[in-house]
Symmetry: C2
Subunit: 153 residues, 2 copies
């Protein structure tokens, strides 16, 4: 498979995977994985689609979470993460790796916000418990059946 085709299919997975599987590393060095909302999923979060389309980095990954969560504690201690997207019925998946950052730009946080999220962050997008993470991945691993393609970003 050509690299351009791999990148195209990777973007399709980002835009369709039912969840984003985020792995952080805990203070004892163990990986901790959990499913997160996939904000890039076109069907689940159509409100953000146009915004993400306009971003310079097509592979930038945004994840909202509670500041008080263990994952935020983990990344403050160790920013190395992976985010995995997949279509398990088709044995297709793509993983992105790199060091995650915390988005400090409030204008950006106001955009990546939906009113019903007050169930998670009662005070809205300015809630100190609302943390927005961004990963500008350094590398990716694309899996399809027996094939693995590594690529850098």
């Amino acid at each position: 498979m050509e690299l351009e085709e791999v990148k195209k299919q990777s973007l399709e997975l980002i835009e369709t995977s039912k969840a984003a599987y985020l792995t952080t590393i805990d203070p004892d060095g163990f990986p901790i994985t959990r499913a997160m909302f996939n904000l890039r999923n076109k069907e689940q979060f159509p409100e953000f689609f146009e915004f993400f389309q306009k971003q310079e980095n097509k592979f930038a990954i945004y994840i909202g979470t509670n500041t008080s969560s263990s994952k935020v504690a983990h990344i403050k201690n160790n920013p190395k993460i992976s985010v995995y997207y997949c279509d398990p019925d088709d044995f297709k998946g793509v993983m992105f790796g790199g060091s995650v950052e915390i988005v400090e730009d409030q204008d950006f946080k106001n955009i990546i916000w939906l009113d019903w999220w007050t169930r998670y962050y009662v005070k809205g997008p300015k809630d100190p418990d609302y943390t927005l993470l961004v990963l500008n991945p350094k590398y990716a691993r694309f899996y399809f059946k027996l094939n693995l393609v590594n690529f850098e970003l």
Copy 2:
């Protein structure tokens, strides 16, 4: 939710999740995640169901892979892994963590074997490229909607 109910639902996830999401840690300390066959899935691998039911540790996780794969190199360097199972439609997931081991018992490898796996390991269950991993997890994290329950094993 009572702990017994959490454990029951965790076992149900192990037996129904479409894949087992395995995370290893690479030599640079980055987590690497990929979907693996979920050998505990009752529908996908009915041949193994009775065998697993008889195991003393109901939460023991077995994963077959190529000895030559990067994940085997990772775990020889660092055995800390996580394995995640989920039902993304129901926002339910369970993660198991601990240090993985390589199964050396050939009788055991002969049991955890299916003839069509020769497409991965041409020489059969004794193929030196067939590695069977086992995780006897130390702890688990059960996620259901907004709830998280940690438990030890």
